[in-house]
Amino acid sequence: MLDAAPSKKPLVEVRDLKMHFPIYAGLLRRRVGEVKAVDGVSFDIMEGETLGLVGESGCGKSTCGRAVLRLYDLTSGSIRLEGKEIGPTPQAALRDMRPRMQMVFQDPQASLNPRMTVQAIIQEPLDEHTTLSTKEKQQKVYELMDAVGLNRRFAGRYPHAFSGGQRQRIGIARALALNPKFIVCDEPIAALDVSIQAQVVNLLEDLQEQFGLTYLFISHDLSMVRHIATRVAVMYLGKIVELAPREALYSAPLHPYTEALLSAVPEPDPSLEAKVERIILQGDVPSPANPPKGCNFCTRCPKVMDICREVEPETREVRPGHFAACHLHEITSQTAGKTAAQKEANERQHGE
């Protein structure tokens, strides 16, 4: 469906994924509502590619990544990994699938058990899922430490003795231990300083080449996603608003939210920087417990139309491989006049 390069087959297929967290309140802790952190998300990840998932804080990126790995029990939806359905599978039955899918976490400090040595942290998945001898495991741990660029002598040390970048390397080595096919990188560089970010991203790219990995790369850093991703999905308030190959998305964004996001990326050239027109969104992101009727973005969209407040836009393939969920492009395809539609939209906005 969402295939950009037809030669490759999808490794992960996510369909209509919903992850709602209940809100309890009152004396009897009755269920009074739910936070719709991820609300109907569909995408494919091709084998060997990196799908970038971007969006602002609180839009559901991390929840989406964790849900895809089934670290949560889903509200509804289907996830197929290598053609095998893992959406409704109980946690106990999922354990056998865990070696195939792994995660690199955002906070390299908190995501490592402070009372385990590096050796123990990397080795634990091997203890659980393999029948290697102690010596083979030791050897494997050393190989993994080599692969991520950690000195073997550090195997007996505890996580607190490492710097942030080194800890993230431990986290990556740990994720690689069971030769996974698919790794969710949940903002792996957000907690690192800029000089280390490049190191870690390059390491991830090298490992992808070396081991044939497929990444779901979650980040709010658009420049970094542009660097690493093959295709990019943009999330807003629990929904994917646009999904396209990297260059198409960065050069010609279709959704007004993507336009606003991209306009916020700093331009390194000062002469160009002066010309950049920032689209400043007004207001705050609505609460995911109470999303607006119609399009989720209608409360802040600079090109909002009446229909946006009534009808939820469907995701459609506006150009080959370039998907967007926006009424602007429905009208474009129906009336065959994009400029007219935009003019119309602008007039409406000015009329308000």
């Binding site: 802790r29 964790r66 790995l69 670290l71 946690q91 106990a92 999922l94 354990r95 056998d96 699938m97 865990r98 070696p99 792994q102 995660m103 976490f105 955002q106 906070d107 908190a110 995501s111 490592l112 058990n113 402070p114 009372r115 634990e124 998945p125 659980e128 899922h129 505890y158 607190h160 986290g171 740990r174 069971l178």
Partner: protein, 335 residues
């Protein structure tokens, strides 16, 4: 770690000397007279003689020095003599109780077994039931088990032991007649029926104190578990594909135990201090009761010695708790 321990032990010496001085001066300044209980018919000059015989004629610093000398030099000599049959002490003056006129340490040695059995056992029982309750309450947060556990620990916390003790006596001794209400110290355990009898007389005081201890420790355990259950490394462990048992017992529990173990270690001196009120309620003649009687009788050497021993225990177990922290948590290093 060793140098740290030695440094702490050396630092403990001036601390303890200062504590001893403060206790001594407090007792010195407190109103009361060891002769107050004596019959009024005794002439004042005889009373004065008796006072001098107790050593009260000396100025306070001389008495304080003598007590220190007896506590740190003479008494250890008597212990060594008792253990190895040597004769270092050579009949030197021991610390003598004003009330019984017998060496203070002999009385303490008589009382320690009761306190250790009843109060110590209650602490052990309390810890043994508190840890699983805390763990299960945290893993099943807000379940009926958790709510019930919270209720029980609120009861254990807020209802004083003199109330629960008396309540138990009324129910189980007076109405049901299952357990004796008075602890019989003279009971010798040498066969099965006497062992059962010992268990029966221990049951109620142990239960009362265990409820109190368990209430405290289970709350600590629960809070510590909840704190760790939300940590990112727990999610990492789940993502690794560990079973829930491994996640909870290996990752979460081991990290949660660090603060709990220190809390347990810090509570141990209370065991030796005895539970003054509970020992009174069940007539257990342990250390707590001994201290109360000594305070009533203005028995300065007994009060001073007991309080000082408690102070030593508190200092020592503080050190043990700190060392345990360093042993259990690799992030903490003392050097």
């Amino acid at each position: 770690m060793l140098t740290y321990t030695i440094r702490r032990l050396i630092l403990a010496v001036p601390t303890l000397l200062f504590i001893a001085l403060v206790i001594f001066l407090l007792l010195e300044l407190a109103p009361g007279d060891p002769m107050a209980e004596m019959p009024l018919t005794i002439p004042p000059e005889v009373k004065e003689k008796m006072r001098e015989a107790l050593g009260l004629g000396q100025p306070w610093y001389v008495r304080f020095y003598l007590w220190l000398y007896q506590f740190f030099i003479v008494e250890p000599q008597y212990w060594i003599d008792g253990l190895f049959g040597t004769n270092f002490a050579d009949g030197a003056q021991r610390i003598i109780s004003f009330q019984s006129r017998s060496p203070v340490f002999n009385t303490i040695a008589e009382r320690i077994p009761q306190t250790l059995w009843v109060v110590g056992m209650s602490y052990v029982v309390g810890v043994i039931i508190a840890l699983p309750i805390g763990i299960i309450s945290a893993v099943r947060q807000y379940s009926w088990f958790d709510n019930f556990g919270t209720f029980i620990s609120m009861v254990g916390f807020s209802v004083p032991t003199f109330f629960t003790g008396v309540l138990l006596i009324v129910i189980f001794s007076v109405n049901l007649g299952w357990f004796p209400s008075i602890y019989d110290t003279t009971l010798k355990v040498n066969d099965w029926p006497s062992f059962v009898k010992q268990l029966k007389q221990m049951a109620m005081p142990v239960f009362v104190l265990a409820l109190y201890n368990a209430a405290q420790i289970s709350r600590f355990m629960r809070a510590s578990m909840l704190d760790n259950l939300g940590q990112d490394y727990v999610r990492t462990a789940r993502a690794k594909g560990m079973t829930e048992k491994v996640v909870v017992l290996k990752h979460v529990l081991r990290n949660s135990l660090i603060p709990v173990v220190t809390v347990i270690a810090l509570g141990v001196p209370q065991v030796f201090g005895g539970a003054i009120i509970t020992e009174q309620v069940f007539k257990v003649n342990g250390l707590g009761q001994l201290l109360i009687i000594a305070i009533h009788g203005n028995d300065v050497p007994m009060v001073l010695t007991l309080t000082f021993i408690f102070a030593v225990l508190i200092v020592v177990f503080n050190l043990i708790a700190d060392i345990l922290y360093g042993v259990l948590d690799p992030r903490i290093r003392y050097d």
